[in-house]
């Protein structure tokens, strides 16, 4: 030891004292690399090019400026379309949620003890869910013609998929106590479902119905564009005629309506759950 070593050197650390620095596992890096590769493939595939934002801005700017000068008097003429949209949403929600509840009971292991039936229903429901609402809109327009009937039916199919999945997951998570009580007192499947499952899932199920009603209002735009009636067909007409100022009035009202329904349903949900 030299005189420069004023403090005695620290004794060698026994192994295992200092915890290992957390490093992400190899699999995390692999996943990240995969996500990066997919992103690059996707960006190339869609020809990601933000240059029009500052190059061709003038062309788009003209349209956007028209959008920001809405023609409010036009809204008065769209009132019948709005009531039609609301009615379509109400009817589609009612029918869709009722059928969805029955489908959820079929698709949950709790209420349907037959393995084949409940697995098969789950598969069928995921297939129903994978076609987007525009697909059902086009399908029903081809089946029953243009008009609100097609819109209602398309939204019903759309709703069944969503409500059934959410409700089936809720049913899977319920408290088994009342179920065993019902079984012990001799209830059959239907009685057990009505008396023990339904009261437990009712608040969640009602909140899903409200959520689906909201979705229906938003989906009515696209359903109307493919021919299902309601405010969507008005939007389609105005879009085709390039009446952007009329269009912007409708859009602003749509945003306001969706926003207020969202707030209203949040209020309602707080009182139900």
């Amino acid at each position: 030891m030299t005189i420069l070593a004023l403090t005695p050197p620290a004794p060698p650390e026994p192994p295992g004292i200092r915890p290992a620095w957390p490093r992400p596992r190899g699999s995390s890096w692999a996943l990240l690399a995969a996500a990066g590769a997919v992103s690059v493939w996707a960006l190339i595939g869609i020809e990601f090019d933000l240059r029009p934002l500052w190059q061709d801005f003038g062309r788009g700017w003209f349209i956007i400026r028209e959008f920001f000068s809405p023609r409010w008097p036009f809204l008065v003429r769209t009132i019948p379309a709005w009531t039609e949209t609301l009615s379509i949403a109400v009817l589609a929600t009612l029918v869709g949620c009722s059928i969805g509840l029955a489908a959820a009971m079929l698709a949950s292991q709790v209420t349907t003890r037959n393995r084949l039936v409940h697995r098969g229903s789950r598969l069928l429901l995921s297939m129903v869910r994978s076609l987007p609402d525009v697909g059902y809109g086009l399908l029903f327009v081809a089946l029953v013609g243009v008009g609100s009937l097609a819109g209602i039916l398309a939204l019903v199919m759309f709703n069944i998929g969503i409500v059934a999945k959410l409700t089936a997951e809720t049913i899977d998570a319920i408290d088994p106590g009342p179920l065993e009580a019902a079984d012990a007192s001799g209830a059959d499947g239907l009685q057990r479902a009505r008396m023990t499952v339904l009261p437990q899932i009712l608040p969640n199920y009602l909140s899903y119905c409200l959520y689906v009603f909201e979705l229906n209002i938003r989906a009515s735009v696209v359903i109307g564009i493919v021919g299902g009636g309601g405010i969507g067909s008005v939007i389609q007409v105005e879009l085709n005629r390039f009446n952007y100022s009329n269009l912007s009035a409708i859009i602003v009202l749509l945003i306001v309506v969706v926003f207020s329904i969202d707030q209203f349903s949040r209020l309602l949900r707080r009182r139900i759950i």
């Binding site: 869609i46 029009p52 956007i64 039609e84 297939m127 697909g135 029953v144 564009i225 493919v226 969202d262």
Partner: protein, 304 residues
């Protein structure tokens, strides 16, 4: 030990004699049933709403009766279309075109989700009441609510298509901006739900605000937030198909053109492609999400 020494007669069969009066107990009255009038009024209201809606809607209900045979015909045509598996030459083109466009829809959805996730991540912090000051939280939350109220289709039609022209880029950007709304809200709710323990630990070890966020908050929310991103990706696949109908690329444009021309066999092929790809992606994404939230399966017990 014998249970009884004397058979007991039920009390209602014992006649009260003067020498042995039965003390009369007040029979408890049956509790009254809860009022049902609220239910009834609610159901009547619902009935009124339904009737009014049916009256307003002015739908041609008679077409409903004609639908099933038409549906049977079209289904048969669609299944025939699928049945001609790629053996015959035109069908190979149909299948590959549908697959290409479906992949394009996936690309649109992926890019949109990545944009939405990247932008919503900082926004989520700004909207969380335990991270940002209340004024900022309120403002950001309202902005997110407004963004959420705009359907992505409108965003695409109004802003993205005029700016970027027809094509998948407009769709991806519309989905991206639209996703910021929901993802921002879900991220902020995840941040508000964290445990204070690690945050206090980092602070007491001398971390500044950024270090608190990186080491105290981030590890707690990351699994949940990544699960949201994957869930949003699933939803965005459907959204990209919808946007295709107005010209933003992807499978939607093909579907709407085929329906216009009533080419049922190709429609069947396209719908089959949509369903199969969506179900597969949903399953994969569901498995990844489950693995992220629930953790890896515990190793099999080595004892016994």
């Amino acid at each position: 030990m014998s249970a009884r020494t004397r058979p007991e007669t039920p009390s209602h069969k014992v006649k009260p004699t003067p020498s042995r009066p039965i003390p009369s107990r007040p029979i408890p009255s049956r509790p009254s049933l809860p009022h049902k009038w609220r239910y009834t009024v609610g159901r009547l209201l619902l009935l009124v709403v339904v009737i009014v809606s049916i009256a307003i809607v002015d739908a041609r209900w008679e077409r409903l009766a004609e639908a099933p045979p038409l549906f049977a015909d079209y289904s048969r045509l669609m299944l025939e279309g699928i049945g001609h598996y790629p053996g015959a030459d035109p069908y190979l083109d149909y299948w590959s075109m549908a697959m290409d466009l479906m992949l394009e829809s996936l690309q649109i959805a992926w890019v949109g989700t990545v944009i939405g996730a990247a932008l919503s991540f900082p926004v989520g912090f700004l909207a969380a009441s335990n991270v940002a000051p209340p004024a900022v939280v309120f403002a950001v939350r309202q902005v997110l609510n407004v963004i959420r109220a705009i359907p992505e289709l409108i965003l695409a039609i109004a802003v993205m298509l005029p700016l970027f022209g027809l094509g998948p880029l407009a769709g991806a950007l519309a989905i991206g901006v639209g996703s910021i709304g929901t993802l921002g809200k879900l991220t902020s709710e995840a941040i508000e739900g964290i445990d204070r323990g690690p945050v206090d630990a980092v602070r007491s070890a001398g971390g500044n605000a950024l270090q608190v966020l990186r080491w105290g908050v981030l590890p707690q929310i990351l699994p949940e937030v990544v699960a949201f991103w994957l869930y949003r990706f699933e939803i965005n696949i459907r959204a990209s198909a919808i946007l295709g109908v107005v010209g933003a690329g992807g499978i939607g444009s093909l579907l709407s053109q085929l329906f216009d021309r009533r080419l049922w066999d190709r429609i069947g092929i396209t719908i089959a492609v949509i369903i199969v790809v969506t179900v597969i992606v949903d399953q994969i994404s569901g498995m990844i999400r489950h693995r992220i939230i629930a953790g890896p399966k515990p190793a099999a017990p080595t004892a016994e």
